[in-house]
Symmetry: C2
Subunit: 427 residues, 2 copies
């Protein structure tokens, strides 16, 4: 792991918008589903997932869901239920009410806040099938009050019936209302435009491979989508009071995600920095996913030595990391100076996996420096707001002339006349 | 204006993603600004806006701002100040605090809510220069606490100094902190990537022509953008108690915006529907912008006769209109049954221009059916949230095993070890 000064550190960032060929493939699949519905969905599933299904086999049955509970360990069910309870409790705190402002002239202004009606959640198959991500995508929607939550996942996720039982149990615990065994760009297109079997949704969430990401981009506008996640990142801000072995373990928990994950220590202590670099090397060799972690550490990992803790805070604000751990003498006193970070973990016991799996805050967090302007998933992602305007006769008679002044200044005489016709009649 | 039954009505919707040539042009301009900064910005301004500037002429000076107040009528200044006060008051009601949840085990979970640091607002030139849109884009940012609000507008917007004085006055009243006389895709690129003169922003808002819209799409990810607005729409839901001439005037106030604007009456009363159709025709001929309004009414206008008020509500929820006026005997009793509408105007005096200019709620509202999943601009568009996790030693010792169970089930041993190393040392 390289040790560098703040001045010499240059962050690598890359956005993947796919090759022109990948974009062509996705456009063609989306067009097929729009034109042919289920027939195209089944054809692409056979071609791409090598699974032959009929339309009435698309939906996962209640029996399969029940069977999934038999296939997983009790300790898993207990843990996923505890995590779900914590995630539900945290997101419940975000509930917002519709509100109104009743004015002395009789007018009422306000905002009506409602849940979305139908949400689709994509769950990847294969090695990237993470039950925790099912909880993190579904529970906020469920707590927001979304009545219909549809999960799609490729039929090749393994297990007896072609769907991973851990995913099915997580879905049931989180509150998914329908599950379909379809994946890839064809699943995204089906959620956006609907088929004979799948009713279209208002928003599509959840991670996926490049084809899934491009399909989400393609259907954006027809439905809403969540933001496109980049590789995962952690930054640790620490001083001499921190334990180098804890920091190293936390950096590696991020590095093992994928070769492009980024794990960075920022510290004014050269001594700590060098100790962490050594400890990362030691712990790395003991990890099952050491090849991935090593590639990540070599390409995107760093120990950045700063002049001071204040300079460290500046570096963090420039990085705008997805995850930030603060392990200093007074971690709480630093939190207020962090402008840009998706999730902030304070003190020696708030290891990132605590948040990844269990504490309650969402683990879907802005990556790639976008914490500058974006936020972790929460209830706000599953609501919509309508403005409410009731203007009284008194208010209109009072304000009418000023409204017409502004309308006419913009050359919109029709706007002014909609007011004038009322003033003429009511005055 | 055609009068049709709900069953026979088919809404036309179109998305404009530009021609391949327009996309090429925009990509080239953005690349130029990224590579050459001010030099490219000035070159494209000369080429496209036919205005030759030096870098130090880009920024509008305080003297120009002061001069603008001399160039506009006092009645305009008074009206814009009243509107600004109302908009500010409404958006102030949306203020949210950071919050925390202190748990019995000593842990603290929460969300830190902060304003964005720097926001760019695009203001179109020429005929589409609307002071009211300056207020609606800038005031929410200012109320949210954004310290730096940068306006860009083409140098060809008219007026003595090349910038429209009405726009300048609106900008000053709304709280803009910097103004640059640049427009088009080159202005969007400058806001996203920065030049020697313009510091990059975190988010870009505001309407523009197709090149501006495509440039916003192009820089999305590097910065955040607002949603891309389609043509404006109004739907009126009314019964026999409504005044046909008010409804006709309101429909026309929308139709005069542009040829693709849509104005639709939904009513169970054929009598009212026919009266409105006649009245639209009559008022239309008296409008200065009658050619635009006529084209809009002919192509996108309709009177939809429903079986009942309930069926009317269903039609509205399918349309998900940007603006909805409810003019029935009990308008308040219907508001709760509207699932999809950007802004809801209740009763005979809440004519849409009241909200367009003056009442306080934002006039930037989801179009094109996206009120199904999107919301009017408000404070939420100018904040970012960070999750806060402080886990106590007690909590980690209690939950550690369950966290490891979930991590190992996902094959992420490194995540489990970040917990294990702490349990080993602290237990």
């Amino acid at each position: 792991m390289k040790v560098v000064s703040a001045r010499d550190f240059q962050l690598k960032r890359e956005n993947d918008y796919g090759t022109p060929e990948q974009n062509e493939v996705v456009k063609a699949i989306v067009a097929d589903i729009r034109a042919e519905g289920d027939a195209a969905l089944l054809r692409h599933t056979e071609q791409l997932d090598r699974v032959r299904l009929t339309a009435d086999q698309l939906r996962v049955t209640d029996e399969e869901l029940k069977a999934a509970y038999e296939q997983v360990e009790t300790s898993f069910v207990t843990a996923i239920q505890s995590a779900a309870n914590n995630i539900r409790a945290f997101h419940l705190k975000q509930k917002r009410n519709s509100w109104m402002d009743l004015q002395a002239d009789g007018s009422i202004l306000g905002q009506i806040i409602r849940p979305l009606k139908r949400v689709g959640v994509y769950v990847p198959g294969g090695k990237a099938a993470y039950p925790s991500s099912v909880l993190m995508n579904v529970i906020p929607a469920q707590v927001a009050g979304v009545p219909e939550i549809v999960m799609v996942t490729p039929p090749s996720t393994g297990g007896q019936d072609g769907v991973n039982p851990y995913i099915l149990v997580a879905a049931a615990e989180a509150g998914v209302t329908e599950i379909y065994r379809v994946g890839g760009a064809q699943a995204i297109a089906a959620l956006a435009y609907g088929t004979e079997t799948i009713t279209p949704v208002d928003k599509i969430c959840g991670p996926g491979n490049i084809y899934v990401a491009l399909a989400k981009r393609e259907v954006y506008g027809t439905v809403n989508i969540d933001s496109l996640a980049g590789p995962s990142e952690i930054a640790v801000l620490a001083d001499d009071s921190a334990d180098a072995s804890y920091i190293a373990a936390d950096l590696l928990s991020q590095a093992e995600h994928d070769e492009m994950a980024s794990a960075i220590l920022v510290t004014p202590s050269r001594k700590l920095g060098e100790a962490v670099a050594v400890e990362v090397q030691r712990q790395l060799e003991l990890l099952p996913r050491r090849d991935i972690a090593r590639a990540s550490v070599d390409s995107y990992g760093a120990v950045i030595i700063t002049e001071s803790l204040s300079e460290g805070i500046e570096v963090i604000n420039r990085l705008a990391p997805e995850h930030l751990e603060i392990m200093t003498e007074e971690p709480m006193a630093i939190a207020g100076r962090i402008e840009n970070a998706g999730a902030i973990f304070l003190g020696p016991y708030s290891s990132e996996p605590v948040g990844d799996y269990f504490a309650g805050p969402n683990h879907i967090i802005p990556t790639n420096g976008t914490a500058r302007f974006a936020s972790p998933v929460d209830l706000d992602d599953f609501i919509k707001k309508s403005s409410l305007i009731y203007y009284s006769k008194e208010a209109l008679l009072r304000d009418g002339e000023q409204i017409m002044e502004l309308a006419r200044r913009e050359g919109l005489e029709g706007h002014a006349r909609a007011i004038q016709i009322r003033l003429d009649q009511e005055r």
